[in-house]
Amino acid sequence: MRRWHLGLNTFWLLLGLGVVALSLRMPVLGPSGPGGGFLPLILGGLLTASSLTLLLQPVRTVSPDADTEWPDRGGLRRIGAVVAALVAFPILMPSLGFLLTSLAVMLCLLPAIARRHWLANVALSVAASGGIYLVFARLLGLNLPRGPWGF
């Protein structure tokens, strides 16, 4: 937690300073009242000050409890797999369409999450992607991206 505490607050501090610098390039106070930089300037200052407060407090008060519990290697692998699966959607969906993308993503993702018979994973992938497509694109008429074959 201490390392993360320092890391996060350093990031907020830099972000706050960046916001202050960018806000000063916008009109802050004009003759007709506050401009577009007024609120961001205050917020950047607030973020900087609050991060400094947390960074400067004595280290021993940072973590009254034990360190943040991060998942084990298996957990991290599953989390990585889910994020990778999500990233695949905006990349593949415009060309393959929603149905094919979701089917392909599920077929790759499910074996990485839980050990099941491969047929069960295929069935779940088809049911989940097909079911969602049917309900949202066909029944509710949402405009989901279509692939080269029109679905």
Binding site: M26, P34, P58, I79, V83, L86, I113, N143
Partner: protein, 498 residues
Amino acid sequence: MGTIDGLAQGFSIILTWQNLYFCLIGSLVGTLIGVLPGIGPLAALSLLLPITFQMPAVAGIAMLAAIFYGAMYGGSTTAVLINIPGEAASVVTSLDGYRMAQNGRAGAALGMAALGSFIAGTISLVALSFFSPLLTSVALRFGPAENFGIMMLGLVSTIFMVQGSTVKGVQMIALGLLVSCIGMDVVDGQERFTFGSVDLTNGFDLTAIVIGLFGVSEILLNMEQVATGERVKTSIRGLWPTVQDWRDSWLPILRGTGIGFVFGVLPGGGPVTASFVSYAAEKRIARQPERFGKGAIEGVAGPESANNAAVAGSMIPLLSLGLPSNAVTALLLGAFIIQGVQPGPMMMVQRPDLFWGVIASMYVGNVILLVLNLPLVGLWVQLLRVPYTILFPLVLLLSVVGAYSVNGNSFDIWVMIGFGVVGYILKKNDYELSPFVLAVVLGPLLEQSLRQSLIMSPDGAMIFARSPIAATALGVTAALVGMLLVKEHNSRRGETLT
């Protein structure tokens, strides 16, 4: 239009097959997500928001509201039967509810939770029906200075209500407001923090942010450990409480209703806080406080009534002032805006059908939940046996569909992924996300009110001192900030000493 006439109009709108159907769907989905741990009302609301785009406004909002209060009913089932609260507002229910189940009284606990929720929901809806128009008539006279004062009070109260560090709460509010500044400036149309990106011209989409923070980050948290389905061994008999149960519970139900309603109306409050306060109050009032934690029915009746009353309470600032008091009502505000309606004092005048239709739908939804919930307890329990590894593909695909379909744009999926990962890291480091969401929603309104007030004021910030409402709200805000700083200082001193 008077309250009785308004309600009559509301019922005439909601009692059509189509609207009843959506109210029923909302109640069922709400109960379902209340039962299932790992997906809360916020995630469910954001995932299902896109469905409502195609629906008439009354049906869409009635369905979303039903998910909110349906989750309060459903959350108690798992809390009582397997000691796992389905959502945060049922955490305290498990303290005594689960012990009752262990003592063979699961039926009475579930029955009292449902009946208490129904009674509290109905009483607070009556209060909502009469109180909302009154507040609306006052709010019609609000200008930008008053709005700014009340919104500041709302934002600071969120930090006061949530657990954890005050400074982290301030950081979350500052970050939320900064996110809302991205894109076109609300007052003069100038682009801010867009770095030349066309996708950022309208800022980040609220739905994508919320699905990321509450949907995707929950999936990531659940991926840490892949659990198998829970087996429920408790047998459920006799859902109707005994005469003695009623004798013990009627006062806690009424007190829970009062506490829940007040904490729902209060900015930053909501069902979670209300249920905790009600439990603490019952324990303090009880003649034998040592019975609490060992299966006291008052410990189920009070908090379950309070969390349902808080839902009706929190609809008051949303419908009358257009100001959400917690993250769920913030999302409901988003749903109204997507439907082209700005909630607030003018809504009752311009769209009485929507205003009264939503209120009437909540009366109907409460009846539906009572009638459906108790006989279906067995079915809900069966659902708990479905392992998360089977549920999560659906949640994941719903997240993608939800984020994409708001604007039909892949960029929103990137936003969702980004906020999902950030939300996961923040939750792991004990940051509360509700102040952030509230700040994102209120940001544009807050900035507009602040700048308009200062532009129209001849003597700068004195405009806030001249308005009694703004001055009071900002005075209370300042007092709260002072109290928070003292609390933070004391807790740090305590930690240094230990």
